[in-house]
């Protein structure tokens, strides 16, 4: 703004009359201001002031508002400014009013606050900054006003210089978008004051960003607001300068760099932050785009390696970045194999994902069951009662292990840890923790269980003696009458016998783990060494016995014995006798490798009875004594058990229950009850992990009952929600996650729902879990008719009705359209070495195929055997056979094979999801960005940067076709998909009998994901094709990525089963036609349904889709030679 020429104020007195035509408020404000100023200003100045006000008021129709603000602000402003400056302030305002009265309004209104924080000489500049935003439009004026209004607040914490920079930035941005500028301004009010000394560098960053890509500015502010305030100044500066570097870098986003950087810094220890930033900075010099990726990956990498190792990793990546910045980006984004390799080599930790295949087989070998291995967090995420994401555990069918183990400094040790914990968890399954049978006698004890009374009277009205319980599938206990309480599991029935179920569970857990450890070390001698080492390490981590109150001290004493501690075992002197008994019992389990879970239960009862009598009170350290060594040789197996009289223990437990239910506070026969502290469960032994016998038995029983079928003849009753609720209420196992709002009811309801779902999942035959009666959702309509020359109808198998639905599916056979031959060529060159290898393997088949055919009338050479025979015949006077030649002949091998390719939509799935951020799929809202996005998507359509399942299937086919051509087998390649039963599409890529031609590669190129997977009709159609062949051996290779499914190919409640059964039936039909089917699937979940579908057919589940191109020819060779 140009300085107004100094105008002499009007000499004439300005009176109130000049303001009379304006709204009365103006006059009133004028009077009030003049009253305030009269004594402070010289008369001349006062006149000039008043005249300025009137001048402002008269400028335009609306300028009276500015005048009113002027009068309002004047007394305050005047207090801060000398007269000259004061009038200058007024003139500046007046000139703003020339531009726009609203600007003047905002200026005057903000002035009292602003002048407090502005040097007087800056007032003009301030106005200039504000005015610079004004371009005569409504939006610009609004923005400008807001900047004026924001000034007092902003200037509180930033310098005027910074304010100026900010104004410039805003001006630049506002040329692009007032809205964006307005939002940035709003955020700045919050943000800038928090930036301290870095304000100006942030503004510079924002301005630079505006100039390169203004659309990102808003996001930059968002991430800055979210991240920068949380950083200490010493890290903020470097991070900002890093972001500044990225502004002009292709592919980098400074905003993300800020938020990722801040998140990374906050996730790592404070003393490493500075160094990390230095590393990022030095990386940015070589490959700027890689720096934010580095920051983002750093925290997770630091979980695996130490900081110096991280530095090595960074150095490797940076070196890479000097030649090829893109490679560095991938490197730090953890998308390069090299990066993984380096980290893997550097770190001593082991990720579960790397060893889960090994462990899965290992555990299956040990337990002889279909055990799966998963990360513990997966079980926690089901919210069915498990809460520890890092502890090993099992629910009877799957073993859950921590995702990463990094306890030791070497990989070998960490792997051993994995092995020990999975062996222990497998032990639960192998050695029957969940097979507990309440009625089954123990092997070492005279059983107390039959003497125990049902307890934990849930209904106080019900006298204990009349209560009776029945576990599922068991007959009611004889003798007593009364109400039946059905227990879901024998385990629940057992725990019901104790008044303190937490204590019972803890004792049971320690006892059972002791038994398993003993059993495992007995059965698996090789693992004893690492096992003992693990136990020793565990002992070191135990809390001191003396630090615990009495009952817990004894339990801790028990844990330590179970871990093999022999010396220096301390127990309260008062309870030394009980301690010795506990020790004897635990040692019995330790020394009897063939003990059963029922022995564990008996031990639990006895130890529980001991501990129950001990008051959980604090005991001074000097009241502890070391329990002396007993001669373990002299320790009797069954001896010493006379201490435990079954009758009296049963009575004691019943009494405990009685008191419990009668009155919490009343004393039992024990002389000193209830004086103790709240009992706390012992610290978990880390290698043993979590153990939930009730849940485990519940979940595994269902699973394995299911497997074994209904052979037992006992009908299993469905589990009701009430029963589950009962279990959850009574069981000490159901841990709720600690929640802030204390909303435990809701949580337990959710858990109940989850548990029901989980149970339903395990019990597919149990319809009681489904929402309603089974409804038939098949499409209406009857048999179909072929609609054209290339359409065929097939029956479909309905396994519920146990009969075929006649002419149910219509298959349309089409020739695949032609594509480009490049895919074929590229695949062959990409897999050049594998192609050679496969060819070699297949050539080994060829000699077999070109087997010598002997006894021919004409051929390559004389057959020596035949010749000798002929000579002998001549000599003996017989007519010799004329067939004296042999020839290599091709006729030996007579194979026709059809490859049936699943072209369902799911094959479009990218193989490595991680490589593709979810945002790649989401269309941006902004129209301009949308166009960019759309273009890039279209471009991708031509040259996809990621691989889909179908691409790998296609590659496999290419390699196979190539190999088959060496072999000379007759083969056909077909794809199928479709939607609904009347529209099964069957694509011919190469028909059987068709010669390989240039068209085949072109058609392969066009194989693409389409719709659903109705396998049955496709298999039937292929069978029909194969059946027409005269070859001696006929094969069908089914290559799929998942279970069959289609509209109407299922029914509610029996959903997937229908499709699976129809497919199976189609395969059976194929076999009847003399076709040998083989199914190759990449669905890792495949084992479960394939077991049904492919029962007594051959199939293979590929653990890794990338193996397919390699595996397919191998399988083919093996199956057909």
């Amino acid at each position: 703004m140009t300085q107004d020429p100094e105008r002499p104020a009007k000499p004439t007195r300005v009176g109130e009359s000049d303001l009379e035509h304006l709204p009365p408020a103006v006059l009133e404000k004028f009077r009030r201001a003049r009253g305030a100023l009269k004594n402070r200003l010289a008369e001349e100045t006062l006149d000039q002031w008043a005249a300025q006000g009137v001048a402002i008021a008269r400028k335009t129709v609306r300028s009276w508002e500015a005048a009113a603000e002027y009068f309002d602000a004047s007394p305050e402003v005047q207090r801060q400014l000398p007269s000259g400056q004061f009038l200058r302030w007024a003139r500046t305002g007046a000139s703003l009013c020339d531009d726009s009265p609203s600007l003047a309004v905002a200026y005057f209104r903000a002035s009292p606050g602003a002048v407090l924080r502005l040097r007087p000489r800056y007032i003009d500049d301030w106005a200039t900054i504000g005015r610079s935003l004004y371009r005569g439009t409504w939006k610009s004026s609004a923005l400008s006003c807001r900047l004026f209004e924001s000034a007092p607040q902003m200037l509180e914490s930033i310098s005027f210089e910074e304010f100026g920079q900010f104004g410039t930035f805003l001006e630049v941005l506002s040329r692009r978008s007032y809205d964006a500028a307005g939002e940035c301004l709003a955020q700045s009010l919050e943000l800038l004051p928090k930036l301290g000394g870095d304000t100006s560098s942030f503004i510079a960053l924002a301005r630079a960003q505006t100039e390169t890509s203004w659309r990102e500015v808003k996001a930059l502010f968002d991430s800055a607001s979210a991240s920068l305030p949380n950083l200490t100044p010493q890290h903020r500066g470097p991070l900002l300068s890093l972001a500044r570097r990225l502004v002009n870098t292709r592919g980098a986003n400074p905003g993300n760099a800020l938020s990722d950087g801040a998140a990374a810094l906050n996730a790592i220890p404070a003393d490493q932050r500075g160094q990390l930033l230095q590393l990022a900075d030095s990386l940015a010099a070589a490959a700027p785009a890689a720096a934010p990726e580095f920051l983002r990956s750093a925290p997770s990498v630091l979980e695996r390696v130490t900081f110096p190792q991280l530095q090595e990793w960074q150095a490797e990546g940076a070196a890479l970045g000097r030649d090829n910045p893109d490679a560095a980006t991938a490197f730090f984004r953890m998308e390069s194999a090299r990066s993984e390799e380096i980290l893997d080599a550097l770190s001593s930790g082991i990720e579960l994902s790397r060893v889960s295949d090994i462990l899965r087989m290992y555990c299956r070998a040990l337990a002889a069951r279909e055990i799966d291995i998963q990360a513990s967090q997966q079980l926690v995420d089901k919210h069915i009662g498990w809460v520890e994401g890092d502890a090993p555990t099992t629910e009877g069918t799957t073993i859950y292990l921590p995702a990463v183990v990094n306890r030791y400094t070497s990989k070998d040790q960490n792997f051993l840890w994995f092995k020990v914990i999975s062996t222990h968890q497998t032990g639960h399954i192998e050695f029957g923790s969940f097979d507990f049978d309440y009625e089954r006698p123990s092997t070492m004890f005279s059983d107390i269980r039959p003497l125990l009374k049902a307890g934990r009277n849930r209904d106080p009205q019900q006298p204990l003696t009349e209560q009776r319980d029945t576990p599922r599938q068991l007959n009611p206990e004889p003798g007593e009458g009364g109400i039946e309480t059905a227990f879901l599991t024998d385990m629940s029935r057992f725990f019901n016998r104790f008044s303190d179920n937490q204590l019972a569970l803890d004792v049971f857990t320690v006892s059972e783990d002791t038994r398993l450890d003993a059993r495992i070390m007995h059965e698996y001698r090789g693992i004893v060494k690492p096992y003992l080492l693990t136990q020793r390490n565990s002992i070191e981590q135990r809390p001191a016995i003396e630090s615990l109150p009495a009952r817990q001290a004894l339990l801790e004493f028990m844990v330590r014995i179970s871990l093999g501690q022999k010396d220096d075992l301390r127990a309260p002197r008062e309870h030394a006798d009980a301690a010795r008994k506990v020790r004897r019992l635990v040692r019995m389990l330790r020394n009897s490798p063939l003990a059963t879970v029922e022995d564990t239960a008996e031990v639990t009862i006895r130890i529980y009875a001991l501990l129950e009598q001990i008051v959980n009170e604090d005991i001074p350290e000097d009241e502890f004594e070391t329990i002396e060594h007993e001669d373990s040789q002299a320790e009797p197996q069954e001896g010493g058990l006379e201490d435990f009289d079954p009758e009296s223990i049963a009575e004691q437990l019943a009494a405990g229950m009685q008191t419990d239910s009668e009155n919490q506070n009343e004393q039992a026969d024990g002389p000193e009850d209830d004086a103790g502290l709240q009992y706390q469960a012992p610290q978990e032994v880390d290698y043993r992990g979590e153990f939930k016998p009730e849940l485990g038995q519940l979940l595994s029983q269902l699973k394995f009952d299911q497997m074994e079928g209904d052979g037992s003849g006992e009908s299993m009753q469905p589990i009701s929600a009430e029963q589950l609720q009962e279990l959850m209420k009574s069981s000490a196992e159901m841990e709720l996650e600690p929640s802030e709002n204390g909303n435990e009811n809701q949580q337990s309801d959710e858990m109940l729902q989850n548990l029901m779902k989980e149970l339903a999942r395990r019990e597919p035959g149990n319809q009681n879990f489904s929402q309603g009666p089974i409804s038939h959702v098949d499409e209406e309509g009857g048999p179909l008719q072929p609609t054209g020359r290339n359409s065929y109808v097939y029956d479909e198998w309905d396994f519920r009705a146990n009969e075929y639905k006649p002419k149910w599916c219509l298959v349309h056979e089409k020739e695949m359209a032609d594509g480009e031959p490049s895919f074929y060529q590229e695949t062959l060159s990409n897999y050049a070495s594998m192609v050679r290898r496969i060819r070699k393997q297949f050539e080994l088949v060829v000699p077999e195929m070109y087997r010598k055919v002997k006894r021919l009338e004409d051929g390559e050479e004389h057959d020596l055997d035949a010749l000798i025979e002929a000579v002998t015949d001549l000599r003996t006077g017989h007519t010799p056979d004329e067939k004296l030649f042999w020839r290599r002949n091709k006729t030996e091998r007579s194979v026709a094979v059809a490859f049936l390719l699943d072209m369902s939509a799911s094959t479009a799935e990218a193989i490595d999801e991680a490589k593709r951020g979810p945002d790649d799929w989401a269309a941006p809202d902004d129209p301009v960005e949308y166009m960019v996005w759309l273009r890039s998507r279209r471009a991708e359509g031509l040259r996809r940067s990621y691989k889909r399942i179908i691409d790998v299937e296609k590659e496999g086919i290419v390699l196979l076709v190539n190999a088959l051509e060496t072999l000379g087998d007759d083969y056909g390649i077909y794809g199928f998909s479709g939607y609904g039963r009347e529209n099964v599409e069957f694509y011919v890529i190469k028909d059987i009998g068709e010669r390989f031609s240039a068209m085949v590669p072109r058609r392969i190129d066009r194989i693409a994901p389409l719709h659903a997977t109705r396998m049955g009709p496709a298999i039937r159609h292929t069978t029909a094709k194969l059946a027409a062949q005269e070859a001696r051996s006929r094969f069908m290779f089914l290559i799929s990525d998942g279970r069959p499914q289609d509209r109407g190919y299922s029914r509610e409640g029996v959903e997937k089963e229908y499709a699976v059964h129809d497919t199976r039936m189609a395969l059976v039909e194929a076999r009847k036609e003399g076709v040998t089917p083989f199914c190759l699937t990449v669905d890792r979940e495949g084992h479960d349904y394939l077991k049904t579908m492919m029962q007594d057919f051959s199939y293979e589940v590929l653990p890794d889709i990338n193996l397919l191109p390699q595996r397919l020819p191998q399988l083919y060779r093996r199956l057909t030679t």
Binding site: M361, G526, R875
Partner: protein
């Protein structure tokens, strides 16, 4: 296990099983075989490799009081067996084996020609057990000969001589085959299969297998028990990536190596793990099982 220090030559008719072959019956297979032998019903032995099929036949030959003759089709020099005793003729079938390899053929000699009986003919004539091992491997034309021998006719047609030989009473045809191969091309035809009573062989239980291992390899009972346990654990993985389970034979080999002083883990690795799979992942899993069992 007694080790022979030098090879000894026997004329076929002189060779008899010196001592009882070690065989641990699993169920009633011995009784069934004896009954079948008495009733002249051919026997088919099914089962994976290394489950003791061949040993069983040897044992039965001994049990039935037969001396034993092993004749490879190539070495067909067997003279008539000594008076009264009947040889057990074992023929390992291979894919180039033709009917005349079993039946016999003319040979040239300086003066003229000489007919020589094949192993099957010999067994038919003298009345012994002819054991065709892995019969599916043989060429299909062999079935033409087998069929008339295995039904009520019990005859062997020798085209070349224009003879038909009626089998001696003591003759019995025993064939073995391993249905475990995932190979659709090699399967017994039903018309062939249904001429035999079938005995299924599977791996013995842990305790029996331990006894067998201990006996055959000479290792101490504890190691034998661990080897048997290893066998069982590995067999748990059938259908989980392993095509063939560890046979008793490889366990015995491991036992022998251990007996020779090879470290147990290493012995198992070379004889068991590497023997049954080439997949590094599965090898690793098996190694872990081995290292859990063997200290």
């Amino acid at each position: 296990m007694a080790t022979q220090t030098e090879s000894r030559k026997h004329r076929v008719e002189e060779f008899v099983v010196q001592s009882e072959p070690f065989y641990v019956p699993i169920t009633d297979e011995v009784e069934i075989f004896e009954a079948a032998y008495r009733q002249k019903v051919p026997v088919l032995l099914k089962g994976p490799t290394g489950t003791g099929k061949t040993r069983f036949v040897e044992y039965m030959a001994w049990k039935l009081g037969q001396p034993l003759t092993v004749a490879k089709p190539e070495a067909k020099r067997a003279a008539d067996a000594p008076n009264g005793s009947i040889p057990l003729v074992t023929v390992a079938c291979h894919e180039d084996m033709t009917a005349s390899d079993l039946v016999g053929r003319y040979l040239l000699d300086a003066q003229g020609t000489r007919w020589i009986d094949g192993p099957l003919t010999k067994a038919v004539k003298v009345g012994g057990i002819c054991y065709l091992d892995e019969v599916v491997e043989a060429r299909k034309d062999t079935t033409v000969i087998i069929h008339p021998l295995t039904d009520h006719r019990r005859i062997l047609t020798i085209d070349k001589l224009g003879e038909v030989v009626e089998a001696a009473d003591a003759f019995l045809l025993v064939v073995s085959y391993n249905p475990g191969y995932q190979n659709a091309l090699k399967d017994l035809k039903h018309s062939t299969r249904q001429r035999f009573v079938a005995l299924e062989f599977d791996f013995p239980d842990q305790e029996r297998e331990a006894r067998i291992i201990a006996h055959e390899s000479g290792v101490d009972d504890e190691s034998a028990a661990m080897l048997a346990k290893l066998g069982e654990k590995i067999r748990n993985l059938r259908e989980h990536g392993l095509e063939e389970a560890a046979s008793t034979r490889v366990l015995i080999y491991a036992g022998r190596l251990i007996e020779e002083g090879v470290a147990p883990r290493r012995a198992c690795q070379v004889s068991v793990t590497w023997g049954i799979t080439d997949d590094p992942q599965i090898q690793r899993s098996l190694d872990e099982v081995v290292s859990s069992i063997f200290p």
